[in-house]
């Protein structure tokens, strides 16, 4: 890992939808995210910010252009390899928490770590407990995922995003569904991740107060980055 390599780098990304009507959503988007940067993407509804995020997340592969994650050309990688990249280098936090309701809070956090398989399950469990304590929800670890409150769920999702020490955390409106108190808690956690853990963050939000407090705001309009 070269520290000067941007964590995330896209060039001339274009994305069109053909269903129900032809729609050119992203137009020649260029973007770089450096290590430890806390970046927010804002813009009006339908400007393409979420579409961009899902391309950056490697889940959406139906685009043209170049995408480099930690220097690796993701636009040429196989689906298996992309799954591995997501597992190892990217953490996700969604608007709706998307925990697995069948599993306990602790297991939800552990799953990506167990999938990565770099540590024994005991070590993964230890790390997961550490993260849950750090985020103030250590006492909820053994509850089922659907038995904890909305703000706590989002913190579980953040712990899950952090379990494999990813290079970048991506969020699609992670505070969109939370009240102002929980939004504050989540923002503080993100801030700490960026400052203390030196992780990059790329958060899509339509909350101008949230965006203002980040290091850099990327504003999108009609499929282009305008600022």
């Amino acid at each position: 890992m070269n520290t000067t390599t941007p964590v995330l780098h896209v060039e001339k990304v274009n994305r069109s939808f053909h269903d129900p009507v032809d729609l050119h959503v992203l137009k020649d988007v260029d973007l770089r995210v450096e290590r430890g940067e806390f970046v927010s993407i804002t813009g009006k509804s339908g400007c393409g910010k979420s579409t961009l995020l899902y391309i950056l997340s490697t889940m959406d592969t139906d685009y043209s252009g170049e995408l480099y994650i930690d220097g690796e050309a993701a636009h040429q990688a196989s689906k298996e390899r992309l799954a591995r990249i997501r597992n190892e280098k990217i953490g996700f936090v969604f608007q709706f928490h998307y925990l697995l309701p069948e599993f306990s809070v602790l297991h939800n956090v552990m799953l990506p770590g167990l999938k990565l398989g770099m540590k024994s399950s005991g070590e993964v469990e230890h790390r997961a407990m550490e993260l849950l304590h750090e985020l103030g929800i250590g006492d909820q670890a053994l509850k089922k995922a659907n038995q904890v409150s909305g703000g706590q769920k989002q913190r579980v999702a953040i712990a899950r995003a952090l379990i494999n020490d990813p290079l970048i955390i991506m969020g699609d409106e992670p505070t969109g569904n939370l009240d102002s108190q929980n939004t504050g808690i989540v923002f503080d956690i993100f801030r700490r991740i960026a400052n203390e853990h030196r992780r990059s963050l790329l958060i899509v939000t339509h909350d101008p107060d949230f965006a203002k407090r980040t290091d850099r705001i990327i504003e999108m309009d009609d499929g282009r980055i305008v600022r």
Binding site: A83, L100, L111
Partner: protein, 419 residues
């Protein structure tokens, strides 16, 4: 892989009721398959055994017949001495229906690797004199101990000791029907007249019941020496040589070979009892068809339930993919889920099926035709367990394959953004 198993098990636990219903379908079909085939094959073996146990694989005998090529035909149809055969009503020459050189033939067969046993027989046509009436019948002179060993003789012996019959002379085992006609009891003396007029008194030493009433009215068995004496023939006089093989299927070929080699007639079991094989095949085929249909229906059950689980768990699939599980991981999870249902169902099905087999095996079944049978017959062959389990696993794999493939192709972006 262990992680995938854990995930599959957790998903299964979350949908426990549907999973149990799906596994129950497999259990039911396997149990029915095992019980049905075991019972059907048990019956088949019983019915076939009725004839096949007592039928030699190859029977050598010597029927008196006219020569295939008459002397006049040797002259030829060409030239000055040309002759044409117009002689009709030819009669065979006066000879005995015995097998010539029987001892030597038996010796040669005994050394043959394909042959399991060689037993001689002597058939005598007789009249049983009962008061002033005569009953026609046959006496089979047999080597009793060999018949017991290779032809299940003791199974059909409803009274009497085979050892007693083997060792004492001038004893006879009467068919049950024949004994009833003669009102004979064990220890009674019966008078027997041969076709050539010799009379002998024989002691009744036992009764047998073959299961075929017509046989039991005319047949009787005796020690081979007794019958030789009855007919006033020497000790090497045999009319039949019965051969049992290690491999039943070689009988037709061997029959042909022996007929030319020893210049006797030979029939094989397949020719003599063709209808039994057909009946057995058809019954087996029907049972397999029913069993396999049951398994396929269970497969559709699994398919439906798996599709339902996948539909309900789209969020879970999306999140697994978002956090780094690949499409093939997801496919494996759902295939595993299907296979777990299949394995649990198959294990339960085996247990239930074997239980059913034991229950059937203990149901009373009494029939005059089958003296040795008092409960329904069941074939506990492991072959059916194996077939049932492997077919069930194959079915669940196929039933799981398509839903699992669908799950693998779920687009997480669509699910996550569509919320």
């Amino acid at each position: 892989m262990r992680l995938l198993v854990t995930i599959a098990l957790t998903l299964l636990r979350a949908k426990l009721r549907q999973s149990i219903v799906a596994a129950g379908g497999v259990t039911f079909s396997i149990a029915m398959f095992v019980a049905l085939l075991g019972f059907m094959n048990g019956l088949n073996q019983l019915l076939d055994g009725l004839i096949l146990n007592r039928t030699p694989h190859v029977r050598l005998f010597n029927e008196l017949h006219i020569s295939a090529r008459q002397p006049v035909e040797r002259v030829g149809t060409q030239g000055d001495t040309a002759a044409h055969n117009f002689i009709r009503s030819l009669k065979p020459k006066d000879d005995l229906p015995r097998i010539r050189n029987a001892e030597a033939i038996m010796g040669a067969l005994g050394k043959d690797q394909r042959v399991l046993s060689v037993t001689p027989r002597l058939v005598a046509q007789v009249l049983f004199n009962v008061g002033t009436t005569d009953l026609t019948g046959q006496v089979f002179g047999v080597d009793v101990m060999k018949e017991v060993r290779y032809y299940m003789f003791q199974d059909y012996l409803v009274a009497g000791d085979p050892y007693d019959i083997a060792t004492s002379n001038n004893t006879i085992v009467l068919g049950k029907g024949l004994a009833d006609l003669m009102a004979a009891r064990i220890g009674d003396l019966v008078q027997v007249t041969t076709a050539s007029g010799e009379r002998t008194m024989l002691r009744v030493a036992g009764f047998f019941q073959s299961g075929i009433a017509e046989y039991d009215k005319v047949q009787s068995y005796a020690n081979i020496k007794t019958v030789q004496k009855l007919l006033r023939r020497p000790p090497s006089y045999y009319t039949d040589i019965n051969v049992k093989l290690h491999d039943l299927n070689k009988a037709p070929a061997l029959a042909k070979e022996l007929a030319t080699r020893f210049r006797v007639q030979a029939t094989d079991i397949q020719t003599a009892n063709a209808q039994f094989e057909t009946g057995t095949d058809v019954r087996t085929m029907i049972s397999y068809a029913v069993g396999i249909v049951l398994l396929i229906v269970a497969g559709f059950g699994i398919y439906n339930i798996l599709n339902m689980i996948i539909y309900e768990k789209l969020d879970t699939i999306a999140i697994l993919k978002a956090t780094g599980f690949s499409g093939s991981d997801v496919r494996r999870i759902f295939l595993l889920l299907s296979m777990i249902i299949g394995i649990v169902g198959a294990t339960g099905g085996l247990v239930l099926g074997i239980t059913l087999q034991h229950i059937i095996d203990n149901v009373p079944f009494n029939t005059a035709a089958l003296p040795t049978v008092d409960t329904f017959p069941v074939d506990f062959s492991a072959r059916y367990y194996f077939i049932a389990v492997s077919f069930a696993l194959a079915t669940t794999w196929v039933a799981g394959f398509f839903p699992a493939r669908k799950a693998a192709h779920v687009d997480p972006v669509e699910i996550i953004r569509g919320k």
